[in-house]
């Protein structure tokens, strides 16, 4: 009883806070000062990315993205470590039921298509909605299909680790090139800017986003693969 009323009070307090937020909200009619800086004509020309969210994520706040990729790496590492420890003292059980014929065939058809879509999304991150993180997640989802069908056999986490490490190093290296050749860390003007709105534009943004995509894709696949391995051991 006491517990329930406490929960009720907490929820009510939260709802009051939320209501204040809602009551003071009346929709903006103008951009604020920071946003106006990012939408400034000269600044857009300087960065050269048609997708302004990408411009913010990869150049203006690129250091943030580096930290974010590090957090994801840390998560993957902790899960790998944690589940491997568990695996050592797990006993083998009988194999799971085989996937049906329809599912297996459909997965075989869809996996390459989803994979290519993922690559398309992160290569075009500076032009269309999407980018490295989204593309990486799509690639990982094609990997889920492969895992469900059981096509991967023994899951090869070494390959993913290598792809992931190389992508991380290239990301930092391209960022550091910005210090030497342009205005600062993660500056994208280290190479030809190209025409605004085409695939080869925005300087180093596509390169950085391709490697972010590869890194995120391999990290998520690694996490999923680790979960799968432990499940099979049960």
């Amino acid at each position: 009883m006491i517990r329930n009323s406490l929960i009720f009070i907490v929820l009510l307090g939260f709802a009051t806070m939320m209501y204040t937020l809602y009551a003071n909200f009346d929709g903006n009619t103008e951009l604020n000062n920071v946003a106006r800086f990012y939408a400034n004509e000269q600044n857009i020309q300087d960065v050269g990315a048609a997708n302004l969210v990408t411009a913010v994520v990869v150049t203006y706040r690129g250091l943030d993205t580096l930290g974010e990729v590090t957090i994801l790496f840390l998560t993957a590492a902790i899960i790998g470590f944690f589940l491997k420890l568990q695996q050592a003292n797990a006993s083998h059980g009988e194999p799971k039921r085989k996937p049906s014929e329809i599912f297996e065939t459909a997965a075989r058809v869809l996996t390459p298509i989803i994979f290519v879509l993922g690559i398309y999304v992160f290569v075009n991150g500076h032009l269309t909605p999407g980018g490295g993180f989204q593309g990486g997640a799509i690639i990982a989802s094609s990997f889920v299909l492969m895992l469900l069908v059981g096509q991967t056999g023994h899951f090869n986490s070494k390959l993913f680790n290598i792809i992931e490490s190389i992508s991380g190093v290239v990301f930092v290296f391209v960022g550091a090139l910005g210090i030497a050749l342009a205005g600062g860390f993660l500056d994208n003007r280290i190479m030809e800017m190209g025409t605004f709105g085409t695939l080869l534009s925005a300087g180093a943004i596509p390169i950085i986003y391709i490697f972010v995509g590869l890194k995120v894709g391999s990290e998520l696949s690694n996490i999923l693969g680790n979960f799968r391995e432990v499940q099979q051991e049960n």
Binding site: F14, A35, R36, A50, N51, L52
Partner: protein, 118 residues
């Protein structure tokens, strides 16, 4: 329109919190955390919405010159992009711990985890 999205976001936050506080099954608690997370993202994006404007992506309809008059604020969207990825990492970690707990105790019910009681 902006009111609908902010209400949905706030309701998701409250539902998520309710789930975290009341549920006994550890997987349902994790779902509650995910709902809370999603609600926060929806609220963040809808607060930055500017009436009658479009996504901050420039193409044939939104030229560079009139970008400042036609797009919404790109910064909260970039922040939410970050938050989604971090939320995914946190969820994956929570699931790994839940898996470990299940293996140790043979149950997903948190009232079976006696040593966590204060």
């Amino acid at each position: 329109m902006e009111y609908i999205s902010i209400i949905v976001g706030l309701l998701l936050i409250i539902f998520g919190l309710w789930g975290v506080l009341t549920q006994k099954n550890i997987l349902k608690i994790i779902i509650g955390f995910s709902l809370f997370d999603t609600g926060l993202h929806v609220v963040m994006v809808s607060i930055s919405y500017v009436k009658g404007r479009t996504a901050p992506i420039l193409d044939d309809t939104v030229s560079i010159a009139d970008a400042a008059k036609k797009i919404v604020d790109p910064i909260p969207q970039a922040l939410v992009l970050t938050a989604i990825v971090i939320g995914l990492g946190v969820t994956a970690l929570m699931l790994a711990y839940a898996m470990k707990m299940y293996k140790q105790k043979g149950t997903l019910d948190i009232s079976g985890y006696k040593e966590l009681n204060g």
